[in-house]
Symmetry: C2
């Protein structure tokens, strides 16, 4: 199994990420079609040369003709779609996704996969704080990580093909995690940070603050601009891992709080030294 030039690729869900996938793949010469809710998004994407064609309906012919199907839907929509239309997927097709949580989905998705087709989960760690195919931009993959999340049921061929997809999309780095590792990592690096930014913005409503804001506050709260439909779903689907990371973080915050309260300079400095040392590992070249 490889990722042939004549592979017919179907994208289900033509939003920011689905649209950016379509843009990258069309630029590389692949034939890309799409199924999405709004006909106007199909029309826009055809006009922009992002896709060859598509449908606002779950068209059986379009689905069964696809060699590779990429789902870029909200988690619960993905599950419902597979329950209703998964049967149209051809044997031999490779199915992948872009969903931000894995453990809670993979078994259910597999239960709707027809015999002979294979689902392999993937998570492109890229995004912007804007939505929709009209904001599609394949340059968001350039500095980003593409994480393949195989289970023991996946074949080496499917893993290879998914890797080729990540390379074709232009990701800087491709890595592999099992579903549990993925969900723990995402709970800390992505979900907890969104929880922090949201809590911080909710904590103070003084409209005068904006006059005094520097770049560090802006950097810290950029992700407080958040799609509440998607993120509330993602949080609840990864509840166990997220609550664990929230607990660990709050214990550190409380330790710092008590050190301020008790004038405990030693604890304050120890925590700041640890934080500085750890943050240095995350520096980009030139930072």
């Amino acid at each position: 199994m490889s990722f042939e030039k004549n592979s017919r690729i179907l994208i289900v869900g033509l939003g920011l990420i689905g649209g950016s996938y379509a843009m990258a793949l069309s630029k590389k010469g692949y034939s890309v079609t799409a199924i999405t809710k709004e006909q106007s998004d199909i029309d826009y994407a055809v006009g922009a040369g992002i896709i060859n064609g598509g449908s606002a309906e779950p068209d059986e012919k379009l689905i069964s003709a696809a060699d590779i199907i990429i789902f870029a839907l909200y988690p619960h929509v993905f599950v419902e779609w597979m329950r209703d239309y998964g049967k149209f997927i051809s044997p031999g097709a490779l199915v992948t996704d872009v969903t931000g949580v894995k453990g809670a989905l993979i078994d259910e998705i597999n239960s709707y996969m027809p015999e002979g087709a294979e689902f392999i989960a993937a998570h492109p760690m890229a995004g912007r704080e804007v939505y929709g195919v009209r904001n599609a931009d394949d340059s968001i993959f350039r500095d980003a990580n593409f994480i393949i999340v195989p289970t023991r049921d996946n074949t080496p061929g499917a893993i290879e093909k998914c890797k080729a997809l990540g390379e074709t999309l232009g990701f800087k780095r491709i890595s592999y995690l099992n579903p549990t590792q993925h969900d723990e990592m995402i709970a800390f690096l992505s979900q907890l940070t969104h929880c922090i930014a949201v809590s911080l913005m909710c904590a103070n409503g003084d409209p005068n603050l904006v006059s005094y804001t520097g770049d560090s506050f802006r950097d810290l709260t950029r992700i407080a601009n958040i799609n509440e439909e998607m993120w509330s779903e993602l949080f609840l689907l990864n509840k166990r891992a997220l609550l664990y990371e929230m607990d660990c973080y709050r214990a550190c915050f409380d330790k710092l709080y008590n050190a301020v309260k008790d004038d405990d300079t030693k604890v304050l400095k120890d925590m700041m030294r640890l934080s500085t040392a750890r943050r240095k590992m995350f520096n980009k070249v030139g930072e």
Copy 2:
């Protein structure tokens, strides 16, 4: 009182901020001298054309010759310096500072000011995560806020002159807060955000995380690279306001935590909508 071209300016403490002040003022043609701990910093700054001269000792002549003195020291060093050498300041001199907290300092500094000289507090909200005069860079003021923190003891002339200083340094915006307002604002926008970033970095020591980190985590934790000597002092000097902001933030974080635990989608979405609406106020043009 105005900010004449022939004003003799003395900077006490030639670190990143003191050095950047010196650089900006020298470029505008002012005569700048400095007093700082290390002779090598004086030598470097003279060689780089940032100052005209200076001393590694609290030289009485240098101090008494200055029309404007700017203190860029750690808070406790500033207080001790004024206690020991404040008497050398000339009547008619204007004294200002760059310290990140105000309420806990102003009265004590004023108690060491000689008759006829005036202290007016200011806070340049600019910085970098590097230190020392060798990293001095006056472009850090270009997009930043200069906050003047007058008390009822300050004269209109001193406030005017401090404003002229902020303009000469190239700050984008100059504003005025009383010491309490300043310290509350800084507790939320700056100190709380540093507490959050430090706690987040302390919460997870997995060295593999760096492979999966995206820009949003990097943005959120940039300020976790922190000078523990300075910030532990600043936190404790602003303890009341900081603990209040930490309490407000923690209440929001706990509310979000409980919403995740209880599958309370309504609370989750309400908080995310509030956070998104508030964050939009902080957007820069083009963001």
